[in-house]
Symmetry: C2
Subunit: 344 residues, 2 copies
């Protein structure tokens, strides 16, 4: 079968690899109907060393089940399923608490062990716990929005949950990538009164406005902090959705969060410490977040997608087949595309 392998920064290839297959009785095998290129895939696209190791890419998908192992109970052949970016058994105490990304038998897609979703097919460990069965067909009109429930919409929602967005609150979203844009949707959905999007890309900012952003801040660093404070009566925002992951984004978060506020981090952190531990303390600021338990959030978000109240699928502005994946990476890296959908 054909799959996407990244060899080093900038070097993404579509290759023939051994067919995905059931290995464990709890596995399912899916044919990938839709996959994506993720903002987090751009980190290795920019930084991966040339170590001779190819990495299987892709961790977001909607698939059609082609086979299941003997112990799979709730998923059957022909089911159309959302594949969250992490697999999870659905039975451990973390799964029961809704933190599937800490499942004791879980893991993350996009590696040699399980393969990646930017491929024709994929083995799904712990299929009963991992996969979310849809009642829609694989060509449903809302497929793009449904696909975001495998990662970016759930991740933006997680940022908003951790940052304690609520009715009448002021929120800022750092980053105008797909996750940031979904963070705007989440903040709006959870009742934020003011939603400040922080970014610089006109098309993305227009989409943010469409999703409910009330203000745009395109400055950076100290100027950005000053601008957010001006927009919020001097105090900053209750909720910061940090959707970038750089040291600068974290410093900005600390500068714009209101006393008693919260920073929800969902950008994969490329820094080693949380800065400003003393001001953070004296101002009673809370910092949390991490890999979103998107599996847990589907129940809550799916009705809003199916009934058209939210349209996260609008973050996809390009669709490619497998051959188009390398250029999809290039386009996202160059910020020509917000998010690329893959139809293998």
């Amino acid at each position: 079968m054909r799959a996407t392998i990244m060899y080093q920064a900038g070097d993404v290839r579509i290759e023939n690899i051994p067919d995905a297959a059931i290995r464990q009785p709890t596995d399912a095998l899916i044919r990938v109907a839709r996959a994506c290129i993720c903002g987090s895939d751009l980190w290795p696209y920019r930084l991966k060393p040339a170590d001779g190791q190819g990495q299987n890419m892709g961790h977001e998908a909607i698939g059609v089940v082609e086979a299941v192992g003997h112990d799979v109970r709730t998923i059957g052949v022909g089911d159309v399923v959302i594949m969250p970016f992490a697999w999870s058994d659905g039975r451990c105490e973390f799964c029961h608490e809704g933190l599937q990304t800490a499942c004791v038998h879980g893991g993350f897609f996009g590696n040699a062990e399980v393969g990646g979703a930017q491929a024709e097919a994929l083995r799904i460990p712990q299929a009963d716990g991992t996969l979310y069965r849809l009642s829609t067909g694989e060509d449903h009109a809302l497929m793009a929005s449904l696909l975001t429930l495998s990662d970016v919409m759930g991740t933006g929602h997680h940022a908003a949950v951790v940052a304690r967005v609520g009715k009448g609150r002021k929120a800022a979203v750092i980053g105008d990538g797909a996750v940031g844009l979904c963070g705007v949707i989440a903040a709006k959905r959870m009742g934020a009164e003011q939603i400040i999007i922080m970014g610089r890309h006109p098309a993305r900012l227009a989409l943010a406005r469409q999703f409910g952003a009330t203000d745009v801040v395109s400055e950076r660093g100290a100027a950005a902090i000053e601008r957010v404070r001006e927009l919020t009566g001097g105090f900053g925002v209750h909720s910061v959705l940090e959707c970038v992951g750089t040291e600068q984004a974290m410093a900005t978060s600390m500068g714009i969060v209101r006393a008693g506020g919260a920073v929800g981090r969902v950008g994969v952190p490329h820094y080693d410490v949380v800065p400003q531990a003393q001001p953070m303390f004296y101002r009673n600021v809370l910092v949390g977040g991490g890999p979103a338990p998107v599996r847990a959030y589907i129940d809550e978000l799916l009705p809003d997608v199916l009934e058209g109240r939210i349209q996260p699928g609008l973050v996809f502005d390009r669709t490619v087949d497998l051959d188009g994946v390398p250029d999809g990476y290039r386009a996202m890296d160059a910020r020509e595309a917000i998010k690329v959908m893959v139809r293998p």
Copy 2:
């Protein structure tokens, strides 16, 4: 009047200073009925440089109102009042949200501007917002426990709130000082099923057991982390109450918190960054806390004190008059006393 002034590390004196007096129409003047020496007072007792500046000490008190300014409405002469360690106007948006320690017209006791509570009398800014009127007399049997509502009990409660202690949860309290011991009370009160106290002092640990601690860990560093994990099925605790403020205490917090758990910091931090930002992220750990809005918590905690369900006053194991204050500092620093009450 007589008051406590600290000149440098180890140098605490009782001196005659100008009488406290009303300065603003929103002030009250209290005679100090009870005050305390706080664990946080030990930081300057250990570290204050000899800069020639004396510091007025003390930020916890129960007082009797002797005079009020023209604009004070809800507090009157003769009232017995709890004085939280921070003053607050009770009217700004932070006060309305219950974060009085971020009040826009607020501040902290124990400095040249407002004086300290280890004294005969004290000026109270923003008296209507700051003071909490008691219906008890100044010699009530529960005065010791009521006095803890000015700081340590509210602070231990804050740690538990931020660390999201709840029914059936596992909690660890780092530090066996008065705040840590009150943290145990708070964790028990909020329904924690397992409460691990981390400390080394036999009398304090015995009191922790009396307050509801289920386990004691006296190791430090990596051994402490390992021991807590053993006691919690390998995963760590849902809630860490960090009641020390050192870099080591924070590193231990990160080592013992469970994935998806929370660290509530109330020890004044003597470090500049929160460590382990990446493991914290991948494990969805939340870090928060700061100066406790004890003013907000009195409503909730007072009935439990008055009805004897909690006895935080047991943290006081020594009482001194003003002349005894310097030796009180020495005794707390030497860990001979847990917490010293001052009757001026």
